[in-house]
Amino acid sequence: MTVLVLLSYEKGNYIRPITRSAITAATKLGDVHVLLAGKDLGDLAQKASALSGVKKVLIADHEAYAHMLAEPTADLIESLADSYDTIIVPANAEGKDILPRVAGLLDIQPVSDIVEIIDTNTFVRPIYAGSILATVKTHDNKKLLSVRGTAFAPTAEEGGSAEIEKLTHFSGSEKTLSKFCELKISQSDRPELESARVVISGGRGMQSSDNFVLIEKVADQLNAAIGASRAAVDAGFINNDCQVGQTGKIVAPELYIAVGISGAIQHLAGIKESKVIVAINKDPDAPIFKASNYGIVGDLFEILPQLEEKLGALK
């Protein structure tokens, strides 16, 4: 069996950790080939070839894939599909945009967000914002899967020496159904939310964008990424891409600290795989406490500065 994994990377030539998790999942199903599509790929091919567990890197270096638009990228994957039993993408915004389009082209029902592989046809995936886990079996002879990064440990960045093959025929490259206009990237020097060891998130209880400074100061002490609830994002306290939950990012850090977040199921959907969860909330009945390992009942405006100071003193 051979599996094709779509490589998700950031501009600046950094392979996203979620791609490495997808590769780990793929190695459970067969030999792994990765598809690197884009333009001006720099040293990404070498990086991909070095990933542990990868047998072959296919490169599609063409203007049409510069922004990984769904239409040309799905056509490209469809053109390669005959050689593969399974096609996997990381379950991030990019993978979720592209994979179902491939599924439509191949007339296959995709399986999104898998968190466990039972056998080559049977997978576990969360439904109802993660309150229910469903074991599903696909009867399609080709499988199209998106993989939750938090459910599989990322494969090592070193150790592999995969063969590199440059594709010369570019399916879909002539199609221009959509045109890229602009990318607005939120700059941050902090670790990436989805792969950070520690995440601290603020909710509606933070009251304002300015108050997020209190979170930032604690994050500095812990080298943490900063997240937020949907309420905090909608209120404009912080950027949209910081949202954690059913419709935001899925995180699984060693330590997750929820500050002024009530613990709605849609938020919990994004943090369930965290190793340790801490809740800081003034309402002792807030549901977040039941989903936490440790909690402090109290005013976050008193607790956060103490936390910052005492973490500093620990060092």
Binding site: L69, A93, P100, L177, K290
Partner: protein, 249 residues
């Protein structure tokens, strides 16, 4: 412009779903059902576009049991013009839904289809993209902003590290992020008016579409959290636990 907005009837997202005692599915008996919140956002956007005279007709479509009429009426009370209900007792997966929608797109010839990016029950996030592929149309997924002009849609998409702006050639399939708008509550007079709007009902079996479900649900179980929920009374006590018990700092 003419728009089709597909809507799904789901367990209300404020309710914690429970597995039936025999494990065969989710308990929906006596449980509050609502329109999928992502679809509500799509209906709202279509209605706002109609209020701006950009959209002239909004058709809402639902697939499922006869009870799905209630969410079609809700959508019409929000401002949709007419509804189509495709009745079936079978569960239909994303691929089948896309094929059914394609049938109506070909019949109604809308300028675009606007739909929720996912349903809050199965969280599959696939139908819009599959439909776009089957139609050979452009797709704009997870959109938080939409501007329409002659033959074009400019969309802002919520992506992994920020936002992306694309210009799509119409016709296209657009899927909504919740940030696109704040859906309205239908007013009582509008609820009354919606009762008189046309609602066509067709049986899925009469459409002559060849459908099969390829995803079998083997079992389902409730996620259970096994966390201790220890409440500590000071920051010092918390740090002590994190350092010496959990060993995460």
């Amino acid at each position: 412009m003419k728009v089709i907005v597909p809507v799904k009837r789901v367990v209300d997202s404020n309710i914690k779903p429970l597995v039936k005692s025999d494990g065969s599915g989710i308990e929906i008996n006596g449980v509050k059902m609502s329109m999928n919140p992502f679809d509500e956002t799509a209906v709202e956007e279509a209605v706002q576009l109609k209020e701006k005279n950009i959209v002239t007709e909004i058709i809402v479509i639902s697939i499922g049991e006869i009870k799905c009429q209630d969410i079609l009426r809700t959508a019409m009370a929000m401002g949709a013009d007419r509804g189509i209900l495709v009745t079936t007792d079978q569960a239909v997966e994303s691929l089948s839904v896309a094929k059914i929608l394609k049938h109506f797109v070909e019949k109604e010839k809308p300028d675009f289809v606007l739909m929720g990016k996912q349903a809050s029950d199965d969280d599959m996030n696939a139908t819009g993209q599959i439909l776009a592929a089957k139609l050979g149309w452009a797709q704009g997924t997870f959109i938080s902003k939409l501007e329409l002009s002659e033959g074009k849609a400019k969309v802002t998409r919520e992506i992994d590290d920020g936002q992306e702006i694309l210009e799509l050639t119409l016709p296209a399939v657009l899927t909504t992020d919740l940030r696109l708008n704040e859906p309205r509550y239908a007013s009582l007079p509008n609820i009354m008016k919606a009762r008189k709007k046309p609602l066509e009902t067709v049986a899925l079996t009469d459409l002559g579409i060849d459908l099969k479900n390829s995803l079998e649900i083997v079992s389902i179980k409730e996620f259970s959290s096994s966390r201790e929920s220890i409440i500590v009374d000071s920051v010092d006590a918390l740090l002590d636990k994190l350092k010496n018990e959990a060993k995460v700092i």
